[in-house]
C-alpha cells in the first residue's frame, strides 16, 4: 500500500496539483491580509467600528467553508478564480478579528505616554500599537492560513484544482491509494503550515514582549 501511495506522488500531475493548492492558499491569504489589515488599522480607535468588525468576523467564521465555496459557483462559475474568491472570503474573518482586538487591547496608558512624548498618530501606530499587537495579529494569520490550506482541499468541488482533486479521483474511481495519497499530502501540508506559522509568530514577537511573557509565565 505504501509503495502504491508513493507511486501516486511520482505521477506527473502531482506537482501541478500541489502547486495549485499552495498558490490558492497563499494568494487567498495574502489578499485577505491586504483587505483585513487596513480595515483593522482604520477602525483601531473607534469603539463602534471594532464592534462591527468583530461581529461581522464572528458571523463570517460561522459560515461553513463548503457553503462559501459552493455559493461561489452560481455567482462566479467553475474554476480556479471562483475558488480563489471563496477562499479569500474565508480567510478574512480570523485576521480581522485578531488584528482588531489586538490593536484595541494595547494598554491606553502606553499610548498616552507615547502621545505625551510627542509621537504622532502614525508613529504610535507603527512604533507602539503594531509591535505590541503583533503576536495576536500573527495568531490570527496562522489560524487563517491553516484554515485556508484545509478549505483549499474543497476547491476541487467547484473545479478549482489542488490536492482535493486526488481525493475526489480516488473516491470516485475507488482507488484507495489515490484517496490516501491525496489525504496524507493535504494533512502534511496543513501540519507544515501550522508549525511554520507558529515559528513566524514567535519570530514576530518583539523582544520586550517575550521577556514580559517569560516573567509572567
Amino acid at each position: 500500500m505504501l509503495f502504491k501511495i508513493l507511486e501516486v506522488y511520482a505521477r506527473p500531475d502531482f506537482p501541478e496539483k500541489l502547486r495549485q493548492h499552495i498558490v490558492l492558499s497563499l494568494v487567498a491569504l495574502l489578499v485577505a491580509i491586504a483587505i483585513a489589515m487596513p480595515v483593522a488599522v482604520m477602525i483601531r480607535n473607534t469603539r463602534l467600528g471594532a464592534a462591527i468588525a468583530i461581529n461581522i468576523g464572528n458571523i463570517g467564521r460561522a459560515v461553513p467553508s463548503l457553503a462559501i465555496l459552493a455559493l461561489a459557483l452560481p455567482f462566479f462559475g467553475i474554476g480556479f478564480g471562483s475558488a480563489l474568491v471563496a477562499l479569500t472570503a474565508l480567510a478574512i474573518p480570523p485576521i480581522l478579528i485578531n488584528a482588531s482586538t489586538g490593536l484595541r487591547e494595547v494598554d491606553k496608558g502606553i499610548i498616552d505616554a507615547a502621545r505625551g512624548m510627542g509621537l504622532s498618530g502614525s508613529q504610535i501606530l507603527t512604533g507602539i500599537q503594531l509591535p505590541i499587537a503583533a503576536p495576536v495579529i500573527f495568531a490570527g494569520i496562522k489560524t487563517s492560513a491553516v484554515q485556508t490550506v484545509a478549505s483549499a482541499t474543497l476547491a476541487t468541488f467547484i473545479g478549482g484544482g489542488g490536492l482535493g482533486d486526488l481525493i475526489v479521483e480516488g473516491y470516485s474511481r475507488k482507488g484507495p491509494e489515490i484517496l490516501l495519497a491525496g489525504a496524507l499530502a493535504v494533512a502534511i501540508l496543513a501540519i507544515i503550515t501550522e508549525v511554520g506559522f507558529g515559528m513566524l509568530e514567535r519570530a514576530f514577537t518583539p523582544k520586550g514582549l517575550k521577556i514580559a511573557q517569560k516573567r509572567r509565565g
Binding site: 460561522a62 459552493a70 474543497l154 493535504v186 494533512a187
Partner: protein, 233 residues
C-alpha cells in the same frame, strides 16, 4: 448583529434566476426538511459523544497536569487534519463503510481539542480560595468537583461547546460527500446537477443553522455568567 447576514440572505434570495421557488415548494418536505433534520441529528450526536469523552478527560487533565500536554498534542494533531482528508483516511480503514458513522467519528475528533481545552481552562478559573472554603465546610473531593468546580467552570465549558458546535455544523456539510447525509447533500447534488437552487438552499440553511446555534449558545453562556455580562467575550 444579524443585519449583515440578513442583507446577504436578501441579496441571494432576490436574484430571480438563482432561486427556483417552485422547486423549493415541491421538494420542501421530501428533500430540504430531512436534510436539515439529518444535519441537526449529526451535529447533536457528535457533540454529545464528544462531551462524554472530553469532560472526564478534561477533569483528569486538570488534576494530573502531566497528562495534559500529550492530550493536547494528540487532539491538536487531529484538529489540524483537514476534514476532507480525515474523512478520506477514515473510509480507507478496512471495516469502516461510507455513511454517517465515519462522519460522526470525524466530527467527534474535531471537537475534542476545543472541549478538553475549555474544560481545563474552566476548572483552572475556579479560585483556590473557593475550593478551600468548600473543603473547610467538609465537602469531599467528589462533592467539590460536582457542586463547586464544575458549576463555576460551566460558562467556559459552554463557550467551548459553542465553538465546537459551530465548527461541527460547518464540517458536517462535507460529510455528505461520503453519504453522511445532512445539508451537504443538497450542496453536492446541486453541484452535480448544476442546479443553483439546491446549492443555495443547502449553503444558506447550513449557514443559518451555524449562526442560530452560535447565538443560542452565546445566550446560554451569558446567562450562566451574569457577572461577566457587561464584558465582551
Amino acid at each position: 448583529m444579524s443585519n449583515p447576514a440578513l442583507l446577504l440572505l436578501q441579496d441571494v434570495l432576490e436574484e430571480p434566476k438563482l432561486i427556483d421557488w417552485e422547486w423549493i415548494k415541491e421538494n420542501f418536505w421530501e428533500d430540504i426538511v430531512p436534510a436539515l433534520q439529518g444535519h441537526i441529528f449529526l451535529s447533536f450526536i457528535s457533540i454529545g459523544i464528544a462531551l462524554i469523552i472530553a469532560l472526564p478527560v478534561g477533569v483528569l487533565s486538570a488534576r494530573y497536569r502531566k497528562a495534559y500536554p500529550p492530550v493536547t498534542a494528540v487532539t491538536g494533531a487531529l484538529y489540524s487534519i483537514p476534514s476532507l482528508a480525515l474523512l478520506a483516511i477514515l473510509i480507507s480503514i478496512p471495516g469502516v463503510a461510507i455513511g454517517p458513522s465515519p462522519v460522526i467519528i470525524a466530527l467527534v475528533a474535531y471537537s475534542l481539542l476545543i472541549l478538553i481545552r475549555n474544560t481545563v481552562a474552566g476548572l483552572d478559573s475556579v479560585p483556590p480560595e473557593t475550593i478551600d472554603a468548600a473543603r473547610g465546610m467538609g465537602l469531599t473531593n467528589r462533592q467539590i468537583l460536582f457542586r463547586v468546580e464544575l458549576p463555576l467552570a460551566l460558562p467556559i465549558i459552554v463557550a467551548g461547546i459553542r465553538i465546537a458546535t459551530v465548527t461541527i455544523i460547518g464540517i458536517a456539510t462535507i460529510g455528505a460527500y461520503i453519504n453522511g447525509g445532512g445539508l451537504g447533500t443538497l450542496i453536492f447534488d446541486g453541484i452535480g446537477r448544476q442546479f443553483p437552487t439546491m446549492i443555495i438552499s443547502g449553503a444558506v440553511l447550513a449557514t443559518a443553522l451555524a449562526i442560530v446555534a452560535d447565538l443560542l449558545l452565546l445566550a446560554l453562556e451569558r446567562y450562566l455568567r451574569p457577572w461577566a455580562r457587561a464584558r465582551r467575550t
